[in-house]
Subunit: 313 residues, 2 copies
């Protein structure tokens, strides 16, 4: 691969790697555009060149957002689909079909989940929502559109403040929002009838989501507020991939730009909520409880380029 091609891919992928405001499904939709750009711009190259570029983009997307299961599955499906394409035309067609199928699946899942979530929203209640999740947004806007009246409480989700994006989205959809900072969850949760979160990744140990989700889950249990994670089954991964989120460090300066000497800054983005802290996981196949998770853990083939390397000691 030429240096300029490699740089071009890194530039294409960079905005997605740096995106701390979008949920997992939204990032997958953004990645679809990256793949389309590659095979459109490189239509005159050999299939080997295009495959190499798609492989580099996939590796960078997955390592840049290691908590985001839908991004991993999208890249994995694309790589497997184009593996045996013998012409660039064939490669493009197979890639586009995979992207179309994936987008359709994401949209259908979101719609089915929204319908399931509708029944969990008490009329006239205050509903808590954490961080940013397009699945949660579409579920609550759908309920509002179907005539259910409720208000939403949400918090900032420091340090990237995607909770403000969530608040703005609901407000512009005609839902009244009460907004506060994360450590004030304790003051608003007692008034909430239900809490919702999205999720980025699921395996046997639990669901991975924006850091703060564990605090929310523990608070909800203490206050007896049911907490549901809304998530399509494209979030399921093997247990071996679940803890990849721990490698997603961000610069300490995002937490405190002028910290004094002697202060180390920790800027991890995700935490793990064990299933026993959730009231249910709302997927397109229904509301799953802890006992149902095992059956959802399907085996899937992982493309060679995305296999995890054993940790060196």
């Amino acid at each position: 691969m030429s240096k300029s091609d490699a740089e071009w891919i890194s530039e294409l992928v960079a905005p997605i790697k740096e995106d701390l405001l979008s949920g997992a499904a939204e990032l997958a939709l953004r990645a679809i555009v990256v793949f389309q750009t590659i095979f459109t711009e490189k239509a005159k190259e050999t299939p080997e060149v295009v495959r190499g570029l798609i492989q580099q983009a996939s590796k960078e997307l997955v390592s840049g957002q290691p908590a985001m299961a839908p991004l991993f599955h999208l890249c994995n499906k694309v790589l497997i689909a184009i593996d045996d394409a013998s012409t660039t035309q064939e490669l493009s067609e197979k890639c586009q079909k995979t992207l179309d199928d994936y987008e359709k699946m994401l949209c259908e899942s979101a719609a089915t989940i929204a319908d399931a979530a509708y029944d969990l929203i008490e009329p006239g209640s205050l509903v808590f929502a954490y961080s940013f999740s397009s699945t949660v947004v579409s579920a609550l806007l759908n309920a509002r559109a179907r005539g259910r009246y409720f208000r939403v409480a949400c918090t900032e989700a420091r340090p990237s403040m995607e909770g403000r994006k969530l608040a703005a989205r609901f407000a512009s959809g005609g839902i009244e929002v009460i907004h506060t900072f994360d450590n004030a969850m304790s003051l608003i949760l007692p008034n909430c009838a239900t809490a919702f979160m999205g999720c980025d990744c699921i395996a046997r140990p639990g669901v991975v989501n924006k850091v703060g989700s564990w605090m929310l889950a523990v608070a909800c249990r203490e206050l007896k507020v049911p907490l549901y994670a809304l998530s399509g089954s494209e979030k399921f991964v093997g247990d071996e991939r679940l803890f990849e989120f721990e490698s997603h460090d961000r610069p300490g300066e995002e937490v405190w730009s002028d910290a004094p000497k002697g202060v180390s800054l920790l800027n991890h983005q995700f935490d793990l909520v064990p299933f026993d802290l959730l009231s249910g996981l709302v997927t397109e196949t229904g509301v799953l409880r802890e006992a149902d998770i095992e059956a959802q853990m399907r085996k899937y083939k992982v493309h060679e380029a995305l296999k995890l390397q054993p940790v060196a000691f």
Copy 2:
């Protein structure tokens, strides 16, 4: 009272009302200077005038920082002490003696608490500290000075970020600090051997402290990290005063300066941690458990000027 005198008092008191970075004991020390300024500057006025000014200052201090028990007790003691002074000279002397005794008591308490806290710090451990408390700062710096080695983890305490002040104070005292945002407590607490918080106010239902303390307490219990509140007994108030902290609203703009239409902002500063979420309350009379609290609830006389008004319905 002349309009200019009333304005002068409001200006003297304003910085304390606006102070969101200092702990309760520190605010009481700042209030001492306000009283000294009043009787020094007004030495040529009648005792009625000076008493009126001190009364106005007391009312404004207590209503401006309604969660801060040491401020209430200081003002209450001063008002009772000067009630029967017949000359300005006598009033000044009585006031100064009350201030001196109070300051001495605060300092002696802090030293005794620091010695009690020493035994709670495991050598070589990581210790969590929340928000800003001069009692916690002096306890940990004292332990370090006595040769105990440990590190401190702390979080921001949004929205006023007094956790940064805490981090800076420890770092400048030679203690290594790990700092992160509030909702990332979940990632650092599992590595902590003990957690400490200060407190602003205590009565039978529990201790009042900076909002986020309840989240910390629930997380500590879940993770089996012992949590101690460090506090002199000047924090005890009657149950009827405990919930005064709920009136301490701050402007919503401090949370989000350009929130979109349809988003209401909540900016409460304090929450209540019930005793059953604490491992102990470390006071100058020893480490108290829930069963010991009742005996600490002493009766005290409340000056007419500081009596709570019945709520009108």
